[in-house]
């Protein structure tokens, strides 16, 4: 039984998980906790060890150390029990090209057993492949194979879906469809763990993320918490005299710092400041005789945060 966690346990839980390939440590002492019922992004640059972690979780390769639980069930000792409620696509979804989409699903449904065979038609319909189900997979586009991959995951009516780079090779419309599908799966109460290096897509799709670099998880939590966790507000100011405005703001102490940035000024409010702090800055400048043409709150994106985290780590190393 896994340790602690929320009611019902974690969807995915690893402690000290390690996987080596010779001298290369692909997964390094990973502590990962994925809550149930959310979309969770596993983020990292190419070669960071994302796919290796997923393969290890699914028993496709053996771990060199650590413990793992899927839906509270220990793996690999009770792998079959755990995987009965898991659907996964690892790397690109591959199928027998000489078989049709329906026949490929029959093959996988037979491996799953139980009610999986009865879910072939609804799964195909759900991913929008009902019309092409009887065409050979060799004639499918990349997007259609991705969708067939999702359909194969749905055969087991999974509580947890693990999708490795699901947006790879998709055009904008395909990405939009995939996002909508992931949203709908999470709305049904399923957990979706997806790995990706596409930060923008993860930010739009996921509720929480873990950042992985060189095989190690360096941060994890909800996106809001991580990106805005420092509680700092950054404001872009457009005014008549940015230099005077910067001096005035710094002397007053209403801001933690200012940076001159053509054509205006960037003001960082103190940690924990509310949006009322922006009004205070405006008031200060107007009372000081400086014309204010615009004040815009600068939102930190996941990408900004990711780059700042990874650059800090780079500087430290």
């Amino acid at each position: 039984m896994s340790r602690g966690g929320p009611i019902g346990g974690w969807a995915v839980e690893t402690h000290g998980l390690t996987k080596r390939f010779g001298a290369n440590v692909a997964v390094n002492d990973v502590e990962l906790l994925v809550p149930r019922g959310c979309a969770f992004g596993y983020l990292g640059p190419n070669g960071a060890g994302k796919t290796t972690l997923i393969r290890t979780l699914l028993g496709l390769t053996k771990a060199d150390g650590g413990t793992m639980f899927l839906l509270g069930v220990p793996v690999p000792s009770e792998r079959s029990r755990a995987l009965a409620r898991v659907g996964a696509i690892v790397d690109e979804p591959h199928f027998h090209p000489h078989l049709t989409g329906r026949e490929n699903l029959r093959l996988l449904a037979a491996a799953r057993g139980g009610e999986a065979g009865a879910r072939i038609v609804p799964s195909l319909a759900r991913v929008g492949l009902a019309d092409r189900a009887d065409h050979r997979v060799g004639s499918y586009s990349m997007g259609m194979r991705q969708r067939l991959g999702v359909a194969s995951c749905l055969l087991g009516d999974p509580e947890l879906l693990i999708l490795d780079e699901p947006m790879n090779g998709l055009d904008p419309a395909g990405m939009h469809e995939m996002r909508a599908m992931i949203d709908s799966l999470v709305d049904e109460g399923r957990t979706v763990l997806l790995s990706s290096h596409l930060l923008d897509e993860v930010e739009r799709t996921c509720d929480a993320v873990a950042i992985v670099d060189h095989g190690r998880v360096i941060r994890q939590g909800s996106i809001d918490e991580l990106v805005h966790g420092a509680g700092t507000l950054v404001v872009r100011l457009d005014c008549s005299d940015p230099i005077a405005a910067a001096r005035l703001i710094e002397e007053s102490g209403v801001a933690a710092g200012t940076t001159l940035a053509e054509p205006g000024l960037t003001v960082t409010l103190p940690s924990g400041a509310s949006r009322e702090g922006i009004a205070d800055v405006n008031r200060l400048l107007v009372e000081g005789g400086i014309s204010v043409y615009g004040l815009h709150e600068v939102r930190t994106t996941l990408e900004d945060w990711f780059l700042s985290v990874t650059s800090r780590l780079g500087e430290q190393s």
Binding site: G37, H96, A109, E115, V217, Q220
Partner: protein, 379 residues
């Protein structure tokens, strides 16, 4: 150093989505997933996957059913057009020739099918999808055995039945007795029946089986009890040369062909699963059958005789039914193969139990190796 800041209460994440109830998998399903016994559905879908490979199926059809159909079809046609110049399609020698040819090519094509069955999930990238279902890897391996055999064995059976029908109903007229050194002996006698005939016809037996001055009845009876196998061998070779095998011999030959085919498939499957490379495995199996086996069958290596006997082709050849003439003795290599069989065995025979042990060892050994590799392979 990792910094874990995960929170996990209700409303985790910006959307505030909360998990719904569990999606329990039935206990029966879980038991099946963990079991090493393949389900009917697993076997049927693997059969479908193999059956739908057009190129492979064309090759399987050609080298199993195609061989006898083409050869006999041409002979039937020629005989129908010009019966004076071309004899009937079926004859004992044609029967033996085609069976020996089938033994070679059925082994090769079954091995090719086996290597395909053992590698296509890997090469198509489907293996990891199958593993992720939680199904026992051993069950995935074992499902391939009936799936593949269900393709090739019926085809061999149909091909052999065709050959038997043509040999029986469109063949040369059958002599009523077997003529051994001019002495007529009834056909299709078993060893014990030949012994009885010798006891009852000592003078004819002496003429048939003894060279030089005719021995007395007592002498020939003594010779029959001392060396019945030798007399029976002489009788059989005459019978095989001039008359079709009896029904029970045909059944034995058919079963032997199926055994050769099944061994080829099992070895190909195990080797394919071990290497994960279809082309390499297929080339190795073909080389074993048309190069290594004929060489070892015709060249005795004194210090390696027992090692030679471990080659499955030699064991299968020695298990060849008595009603089937040995393959055309044109020596080892492809020339011998194409003229029907890998040639007469030149190595001393081994006991029947040893032949069976070698054959069973190949089937079980390759299955264990293939299953082990499949169970331990990174997907």
């Amino acid at each position: 150093m990792s910094s874990v800041t995960t929170d996990a209460g209700p409303g985790y994440g910006p959307t505030g989505r909360s998990p719904s109830g569990p999606f329990p998998a039935g206990l029966a399903t879980l038991r099946r997933l963990g079991s090493f016994v393949p389900t009917w559905g697993l076997i049927a879908t693997k059969h479908l996957e193999l059956r739908k490979r057009r190129g492979l199926m064309v090759a399987v059809l050609l080298f199993t059913l195609g061989l006898p159909v083409i050869i006999l079809g041409i002979r039937l046609l020629f005989h129908a057009i010009n019966p004076a110049a071309y004899g009937p399609a079926g004859s004992p020698s044609v029967f033996a020739f085609i069976v020996n040819l089938m033994a070679e090519f059925c082994f090769i094509i079954a091995a090719t099918l086996g290597t395909s069955a053992g590698t296509t999930d890997l090469s198509d990238g489907v293996f990891r999808h199958l593993v992720v279902t939680g199904r026992s890897r051993l069950a995935l391996y074992l499902a391939r055995i009936p799936a593949g055999l269900a393709i090739v064995l019926p085809l061999v059976a149909v091909a052999f039945t065709t050959l038997c029908l043509v040999t029986t109903y469109a063949g040369i007229p059958q002599p009523a007795p077997v003529s051994v050194n001019g002495v007529p002996i009834p056909m299709h006698l078993q060893e014990t029946q030949l012994r009885t005939w010798v006891d009852q016809h000592p003078h004819e037996a002496a003429t048939a089986f003894q060279s030089g001055p005719a021995p007395s009845a007592v002498h020939i009876r003594a010779a029959a009890s001392r060396d019945l196998a030798s007399l029976y061998g002489e009788y059989s070779s005459e019978e095989i040369a001039y008359s079709n095998p009896a029904m029970n011999e045909m059944v034995k030959i058919g079963l032997w062909l199926e055994l050769v085919t099944a061994v080829g498939f099992m070895a190909g499957l195990g080797l394919g699963s071990l290497t994960g490379q279809r082309t390499v495995s297929t080339i190795l199996m073909i080389a074993l059958e048309i190069i290594v086996t004929p060489i070892l069958a015709t060249h005795v290596i004194p210090f390696f005789l027992n090692g030679q006997r471990l080659v499955v082709g030699l064991a299968l050849d020695q298990l060849r039914p008595a009603g089937l003439a040995a393959g055309n003795a044109q020596g080892p290599g492809p020339a011998g193969v194409l003229s029907g069989g890998r040639g007469v065995l030149d190595i001393p025979p081994m006991p029947t139990w040893a032949m069976i042990l070698v054959i069973v060892g190949w089937i079980v050994g390759w299955s264990v190796i293939g299953a082990w590799r499949m169970a331990t392979r990174d997907a």
